[in-house]
Symmetry: C2
Subunit: 304 residues, 2 copies
Amino acid sequence: MSLCVVGSVALDTVKTPFGEVNEALGGSATFFSTAASFFTEVQLVAVVGDDFPPEHLAFLKSRGVHLDGLQQVPGRTFRWRGEYGYPLNEAKTLDTQLNVFAAFRPALPAAYRDAEFVFLANIDPALQSDVLRQMNRPKFVACDTMNFWIAGKRTALVRTLAQVDLVVINDGEARQLAEEANLVRAAARILSWGPKILVVKRGEYGALMFNGKTIFAAPAYPLENVFDPTGAGDSFAGGMMGYLSTQQGAVTDAMLRRAVIYGSVMASYNVEAFSLDRMRSLTEEAITARYRDFQALMAFDPLA
Amino acid sequence: MSLCVVGSVALDTVKTPFGEVNEALGGSATFFSTAASFFTEVQLVAVVGDDFPPEHLAFLKSRGVHLDGLQQVPGRTFRWRGEYGYPLNEAKTLDTQLNVFAAFRPALPAAYRDAEFVFLANIDPALQSDVLRQMNRPKFVACDTMNFWIAGKRTALVRTLAQVDLVVINDGEARQLAEEANLVRAAARILSWGPKILVVKRGEYGALMFNGKTIFAAPAYPLENVFDPTGAGDSFAGGMMGYLSTQQGAVTDAMLRRAVIYGSVMASYNVEAFSLDRMRSLTEEAITARYRDFQALMAFDPLA
């Protein structure tokens, strides 16, 4: 089934303890689309400047990502510069140049309006709501957000949350959003505002999924080499939503649990190299193999 | 089968965001023994002063803990004073009075020397080795340690590690001990020194178990009310070793995985109240119920 993502396409300059990369392909919609592209075709909505390197467009096309919704406008592409130390969990932002992204107004091509699965990546919550107004009753909507919007646009954000099925945010954001230090109670509060499901991403510690009745806990895949965490969260969401969009019928808890594992698989691969480099050589066999690795990682005998 | 623990018995004064408690029963051997007592009889080796409240001895006896190895000597009992803020993971030590514990020399009663399972709680690694010299070929030995010994008694500690089957430490200690930020590589280095198994405790994020071939990841049980984390690590070890000591034959990976879950169950209950208070009313039914909760928490469909 069809999957649409609205978010950023950016050029990232990243330094980690293991190396650095200059103006590499990045952005929430890029990581999401690329991860999801291993499961389905993705309709991308974003904006880039006239300086955007054509080879990045070619890469996204090669992954089957539809670019009719990617506006290319005069000006410079969104640029982000960040650094990771130890622990690798937290990025230190050194510079953010929104450039053409500052005036981004998502406009969905007619062909995208019937998408059944939608991911609203981390953009202004007012724009997230605006995207939903352009859609024809999508089957399943997920969104991300960040501390900047939680602090500065709380009312608009809570309005967006009321319209989505799934919220995918990190643990610090969940605590800040709910104004509650305990994650179980923070989750209950966020779910009380409307979304059916909350997935809390915890970086190297994995993810927790709450639906108001049960909790699912997935570890992160223990990696010997975490090279660059940039895009891990969006790759996670891409794997999750990409997998869900291949499933028929109502979205069940069992489907969502499998989706969390596929999200964890995609995030674990993405951090193995800078930018999207690991995705360039990734195979379906490798995805399946790591899903099985998660089975082995989490297996123990049930009681009789 | 028989289980012996050597460690501390202390009086803890603890402040958390939810309250405080003054000179409550604490100490690594106490938390360990009490958690393990739900699985087996425990032989305790420790020291207390002549000020130690008799009701604490009565409590340990009521849990079936053997106290022949508990020396009571003139002087004051070991006292620890600590505080937890948010996040609750990290204790801030305000005061440590070793008192009679400073001169502690473990002396195993003859009846303990044939114990098949041994836990060397966090004490001077030279004393840990000394305990092993007093034993008659135990079947399975586990140990804990802390940053103080890693920094100050590294050579003695590495000598102890070479003699144990299982090391149970937290993630910061594992990184410090291995001098390696990446946990997977830190685990490989620690295992190269002799122990067969390493369990890394990560507080609210659960535990990872490494055996050089496979990894097992268990989440912590997501709790709405974490009241006091003191003793969580020793309760974890107590649940793990208590369960293992009930099993026949060689210790297998499947047994160890079940043991990690039982350890997680005991730790999750222990943090629900100050000191050992939750353990006082805990039942076997509640332990079984939470083991099943872990099954539900970690379940997802395997690939065909």
